[in-house]
């Protein structure tokens, strides 16, 4: 591992009107590391990812990827930087109008680095990596179950051999067994690629399984972070309340606001 973080976020602020979502967020993700951000709904987990990808403009602060600031980049430079990224969306966000194989190979085909024929071969190879048979490649997303869509989304996320993968609530809406399958696949594919992973979730089973390090986001700031194995022993009351899913605790007032 080098000393330069793959992603370095400093003093990130983002508000929507009068609602402050991120209030000075700091976070480092080292190369090859898998970091999971946990936190309640509406605490700014998705906003953090979207600011890093350039989907949302931040109000102030700085985000660096491989030591390069990605704030205020031109569209062309943003496209160059985004080549390092891929993302598995909460809803999979597969393109309805395209068959599965075109979804999976979309990035490389759009880049014109491969032909459509090679794209289909690549898609079948990536689908196999996430445990799906070749017959699925000709189906449309609407013909797949939620778990299968997530797997196709994962295959799409790894198709371009990204350096960094974002996972947005990867197990939300899945039954516990399928959630565990997805968790195992996330660990497997990120290890195989040697990719850096940044995930957001409120599923603690998922966080424990896929994280090297866990960070808790509360009121726009990281209030605790540490190795995944130590989270149960931490003495932070907010973290303890969250990971144990208790209604009573310091977060209660914020929930009832």
């Amino acid at each position: 591992m080098t000393d330069t973080p793959k992603i370095k976020i400093r003093d990130l602020h983002k508000a929507f009107g009068s609602k402050v979502v991120l209030d000075g967020l700091d976070l480092d993700v080292m190369p090859g590391e898998s970091v999971v951000i946990i936190g309640g709904s509406g605490t700014g987990k998705s906003v953090t990812l979207k600011c890093t990808l350039g989907l949302l403009e931040l109000d102030s602060g700085n985000i660096e990827v491989d030591g390069e600031s990605v704030v205020g980049l031109s569209a062309r430079d943003r496209e160059r930087v985004n080549h390092k990224f891929s993302m598995l969306f909460q809803s999979a966000a597969l393109f309805d109008s395209l068959p599965v194989w075109e979804n999976v190979a979309f990035g490389p085909i759009a880049d014109k680095t491969i032909t459509r024929k090679q794209g289909k071969e690549l898609a079948i190879e990536k689908l196999a990596q996430v445990g799906m048979p070749p017959e699925v490649s000709d189906l449309f997303p609407s013909e797949l179950s939620g778990g299968m869509q997530k797997r196709v989304g994962l295959a799409r996320a790894i198709a371009g051999d990204p350096e960094i993968i974002f996972f947005d609530e990867p197990t939300t809406g899945l039954d516990p067994i399928m959630a565990d399958v997805i968790n195992d696949l996330i660990v497997k594919v990120t290890k195989e690629l040697g990719a850096t992973a940044l995930s957001i979730t409120h599923d603690m089973a998922s966080a424990r399984k896929i994280a090297d390090r866990i960070a808790m986001l509360y009121q726009g700031k990281i209030i605790w972070q540490g190795p995944a194995a130590t989270i149960d022993d931490c003495d932070n009351d907010y973290v303890q309340q969250f990971i144990n899913g208790r209604a009573d605790g310091p977060i209660e007032m914020a929930v009832r606001k």
Binding site: K50, L53, G54, L55, A75, E79, N82, H83, F85, S86, M87, F89, Q90, S91, A93, L94, F95, D96, S97, F106, G107, A110, D111, K112, R156, G160, F166
Partner: protein, 257 residues
């Protein structure tokens, strides 16, 4: 004071919307002119707009031509001017009814479908997914629709003109008892290149308006199913009004003496 505040609020909102639309238009146009292009997407949209709209436009214009011949006969027979029916049909269809009716019908069919498709892509994060795959949504989604709209509306109007004039011929010959060869000769003599050209120029402008409104309202929609429904309605209403407005402006420019 409260009343003035309301007026101020709506005036500011109006200018904000106009500014956003102008910015969207210039961004979209710049992406239409700069590579990379997506020919497969352009072709798909051309088929969707041009080929699949043919039955709707054909049916509309054939009945418009038939009604026009019938009503002209009712009016002109009072002055023994039935011979002018061919003139009226051809001028009305090529100058006004062809482009306007085709424009309004395509607005209902294509403008609404564009807004619904892009709106759904927006609220299901498919547009964000495109960005994470290093594909500019303006290039992949907006530019092909604008190019296809501008190219296919003149084609539709040209076909619509022929079918509309044929509708007038059917009524004149088979219902009103005109001599077929005399009617065709009168129609041919009444046809002026400028009338047809002005209709095709109008169609080009209407094609741009339909695609632009469909794309703008769909792309900027938010708020789930309700937002997509609103985007669809807004796109049809705004495109229809703009078509009628620009029809007047272009008519003045072409024919005012």
């Amino acid at each position: 004071m409260n009343f003035l505040q309301h007026i101020g609020h709506y005036v500011l909102k109006f200018f904000k919307s106009v500014g956003a639309l102008v910015l969207f238009t210039f961004t979209a146009l710049s992406h239409c002119l700069r590579p990379p292009f997506y020919p497969r997407q352009i072709l798909r949209q051309m088929i969707e707009i041009g080929y699949f709209s043919l039955p709707v436009v054909g049916l509309t214009t054939v009945f418009a031509g038939m009604v026009l011949a019938l009503q002209s006969y009712t009016g002109f027979s009072r002055f023994s001017a039935e011979g002018a029916i061919a003139n009226v049909v051809i001028i009305s269809i090529t100058r006004e009814l062809g482009p306007v009716l085709a424009g309004l019908m395509v607005t209902g069919r294509i403008g609404a479908s564009m807004a619904a498709e892009l709106g759904t892509m927006r609220v299901t994060e498919q547009v964000d997914a495109l960005t994470t795959l290093s594909t500019n949504p303006f290039k992949y989604l907006i530019a092909p629709r604008l190019i296809a709209g501008v190219l296919m509306l003149p084609f539709l109007v040209f076909i619509g003109d022929i079918i509309g004039v044929f509708g007038g011929y059917l009524v004149a010959v088979y219902q009103l008892g005109f001599n077929a060869s005399n009617y065709i000769q009168s129609s041919w003599e009444a046809m002026v290149a400028m009338d047809v050209i002005s209709g095709l120029v109008k169609a080009t402008v209407f094609g741009f308006i339909i695609s632009l409104m469909g794309c703008y309202h769909g792309y900027t929609s938010k708020g789930g199913a309700q937002g997509v429904g609103k985007a669809t309605t807004d796109s049809v209403v705004s495109a229809s009004i703009l078509i009628l407005c620009f029809n007047f402006i272009l008519t003045v420019l072409f024919f005012e003496k």
